[in-house]
Assembly symmetry: C2
Homo-oligomer: 528 residues x 2
């Protein structure tokens, strides 16, 4: 918060700090987010309502996320497969709650060709006998396949994952956070017993927690959703929730125990060891490109994105100073050798990812492009650095003016520990922010005050950042939950898993909203 205070002081003194992103987080967080996505060159809107174009710098983050998660899925015994994009309408109808949950946001294919419309254009033709829904999620099509694959207990557990695109026709979209089409993975598993399926559900929740924490440097709370926030058709939904810099929660991943709801709707049965026919117990779990939105909102600052090294498309960029003709060749050669030497070093068991930017642009412009993109390290090399066998280095997690000269050999040999330090530092910083804004609350008055901004906002000047995670006892009363949602736009993010070291979590108490007894505190927040 010292950064924020400094800015406030500057503002009070009439001196507005220069930032690469306008507006700043404090001025208008939602707009700041859009500007960071744009300035960091990660994604943009497309001509198709609500569908985004993921640009190379953003897509490379997704590739690193995929690689990291895929390794963890395979290490826990899952195999990838691929299932159809389309779901026949009759399939979707089989599970009543499920179809209710998605009916309002389905893209529907009704025709299979185009023909002349008589006015020089084209119109849909060849009407399908049965409309096809573009998958919003694949329980119904994968379940139908599982029903064919599973015959006996020997076929269980069946542990499958799919990397795919899905479509949910959202009315209000925001790049990465909520788009009509998004990329994700969806795990689907079937088990012989309820216990095994629950164990799987919680295992994948733990995989998500570990990935968010260790790779994305996003500290997350794990827990269970209340009924009103459950996945349509699930028995229990578990989630990981991160706190963004505007103190709102982001649901970053979910893991569902589906009980026998889907297996009964889809007839997924198996012969058990006594040759009796049983319904299987199923789970599903997923994370999406939304994680990239979470990365930006957790780590970005008023100069743009800051990438955690483990998922950064590149760890560092080398910016040679080439404007002096007489040293140009030598500097380039020095830099090319540096690239080679760095690539021979590793971080996270993989070679260091280095960019060499020799574009013919002004140095300041180039440097700022990389700052906004959030590359962890910028390394400038001019004739003097070369003479001193050194590099001039800037860390993205420090102020942009704070640069230091480092001996070349030290820089190369120290790169892994430097990146590790940065990765850890980002997690610590995010955790400190979350802890600072997580509050134990025991009265309704304090709760309402916590979530009420100093002043109302409008589009130009939104309400100031306020609130956070409120931990209150809660008796689970749905009416109380609904009232709070209506009045404050605040929801129960989760009933946290025990043993996460959250303040005041593990003692029973009284629900401040109903006066009823409660066995554990829950996490409330505004959310994305």
């Amino acid at each position: 918060m010292s950064q924020q205070k400094k800015q406030q002081q500057k503002k009070q003194s009439g001196q507005k700090p220069k930032t690469a992103i306008v507006p700043t987080r404090d001025e208008n967080y939602a707009e700041w987010y859009q500007q960071v996505v744009r300035s960091a060159d990660m994604a943009e809107t497309s001509a198709v309502r609500g569908c985004m174009v993921i640009k190379p710098w953003g897509y490379a983050v997704w590739e690193n996320i995929q690689q990291g998660l895929d390794g963890m899925f395979k290490a826990t015994g899952h195999q990838n497969a691929y299932f159809p994009l389309f779901i026949p309408l009759s399939y979707l109808e089989k599970e009543a709650k499920h179809v209710d949950g998605f009916a309002k946001e389905c893209a529907v294919v009704t025709h299979h060709r185009l023909e002349a419309d008589g006015e020089g254009g084209l119109k849909p033709a060849g009407e399908l006998e049965e409309p096809l829904v573009v998958r919003p999620t694949s329980e119904m099509i994968i379940g139908a396949t599982f029903a064919k694959w599973i015959e006996s207990w020997r076929d269980l557990p069946l542990l499958v994952n799919q990397w795919a695109n899905v479509v949910r026709w959202e009315m209000r979209t925001r790049l990465f956070l909520r788009t009509a089409e998004f990329l994700w993975q969806e795990g689907h598993t079937a088990h012989a017993t309820s216990e095994e399926a629950i164990e799987e559900t919680l295992q994948m929740l733990e995989v998500y927690r570990e990935f968010a924490t260790e790779w994305l440097a996003i500290p997350v709370v794990t827990g269970e959703k209340t009924e009103s926030e459950r996945f349509p058709g699930a028995v229990n939904t578990y989630c990981i929730e991160g706190m963004m810099q505007d103190r709102k929660a982001l649901q970053a991943g979910t893991s569902h125990f589906l009980g026998q709801n889907f297996s009964k709707a889809q007839d997924i049965t198996f012969a058990d060891q006594n040759t009796e026919i049983q319904h299987a117990w199923t789970t599903s779990w997923g994370v999406s490109t939304r994680l990239i939105g979470g990365l930006i909102m957790t780590h970005g600052d008023d100069d743009g994105m800051i990438m955690p090294p483990r998922v950064a498309p590149a760890h560092l960029v080398i910016l040679p100073v080439l404007h002096k003709e007489e040293t140009r060749e030598a500097v380039l050669e020095y830099c090319e050798q540096l690239v080679k030497d760095l690539r021979a070093q590793s971080f996270d068991g993989k070679p260091i990812r280095v960019e060499l930017d020799t574009r013919d642009l002004r140095g300041g412009e180039k440097s700022w492009q990389w700052i906004k993109r959030g590359i962890p390290l910028r390394v400038e090399v001019g004739p003097r650095d070369m003479e001193n066998d050194a590099v001039f280095m800037g860390r993205r997690d420090r102020g942009h003016k704070e640069k230091t000269t480092v001996q070349r050999t030290e820089f190369i040999s120290g790169i892994e520990s430097l990146l590790t330090e940065m990765q850890d530092g980002m997690l610590q910083k995010a955790r400190a922010h979350r802890d600072e804004h997580t509050r134990i609350i025991d009265t309704k008055e304090e709760f309402y005050a916590f979530f009420t901004p100093e002043r109302e906002g409008d589009e130009q000047s939104p309400a100031p950042i306020h609130g956070g995670f409120a931990m209150t006892h809660f008796s689970g009363d749905e009416h109380a939950e609904e009232t709070i949602k209506k009045e404050l736009a605040v929801t129960v993010r989760c009933i946290p898993t025990a043993g996460q070291g959250l303040p005041g979590q593990d003692e029973p108490g009284t629900c401040p909203f109903t006066g009823q007894p409660s066995s554990t505190r829950v996490v409330w927040a505004k959310s994305y």
Copy 2:
């Protein structure tokens, strides 16, 4: 062909050879193909017309293909990105030939939600103002984005690739070879000059040739398509064509020089170094899950699939003999150590991929499952092998009864060269088959005889395998081409690139169909 002769001899002697796949390739190649896909557990049809489910063993092949190609794309300077699944109808209409080429096979989204139909079911609702086409290919949506991204010559070349699913509403589908939805990559690039764009087109053709040859062990002919087989909207289409075991051609990849056709339709312009506004020159190129069909049809035999080691989901399976209770633990331990030792070895720069199959199934049944799946090596380990510090090994490229005892340490240290030998052997075998059935033909009579089977076929008993690649001179007459297509179902697969060592390729001559002079021979074949 000695294999085939042996079978014929056996048939003549009234002794039908036992094969895992029924029918055999000779009996009914098309049906043999379907049976191999099924027996190898690679894919299956789904409830959605023409859409396939890619099963884990098939998808793992796709992952290896992706990994191999992606490395080659990145090494040639391309970056991945992701573009919308949907294309507004008005976008598709911009390039007249392009839309004509795809209009008959488009899945069209017309509604964005479902509502009660009054009879207990659901019906499409919320009609879209403009229908959206599910991408059959992405020139029109990526081009529209390029138009925004490109301002000056400094932004060129723009080299982008996308891994995605696409939909073409095919009426007659076949797993992997022709499906309504398939997975692919599509490269899209923009350049400042025609020369650069052509160079890119040919570079990617060469990448495909190298990948097909070195990774898939499919020898391919590279060349240019005639106008009738060109990609809708392209100036030139280049392709790689493999010969399957039934001597038909499979187009396994295409690379298109699009000239300025798309850039003019979509207004992709840039300011050149003299600040004059120019239209860019664009290319596109793609390969798909069809490659997996090509793999099967090139390498499979009458016992099922044979995987080239470089793309095999696993290089070997260890099958412990566990039925004797007293040696069970010791054998398992021996096998687990073997797994570790093998994983410490590498092939192709990556750890050896090992499966340990401890399922409680009869040994023969297990072994046959792996044979049908085409795993390169099967390693049986029983108490006696353990005592002798040996393994009992079967190679998938040899007969299934041909197994040998190998000392454990020799087997481990020799695994890389053994897999290399198998990979090379598969390519050589496929090349010999192709060369054997590539014929120089100089008369129309011989041409017609070459493509006419001994006897007509029907569904139960198709015409015997015949034909191959016919290399004739050709004057390029479209009428002659059409007649041959109608009469023989034979087309020009390509006008081959010079210098591939194809027989009689590089001498001028006379077209046997028109009597006109011709500068090079072309490749004719029946095809998938």
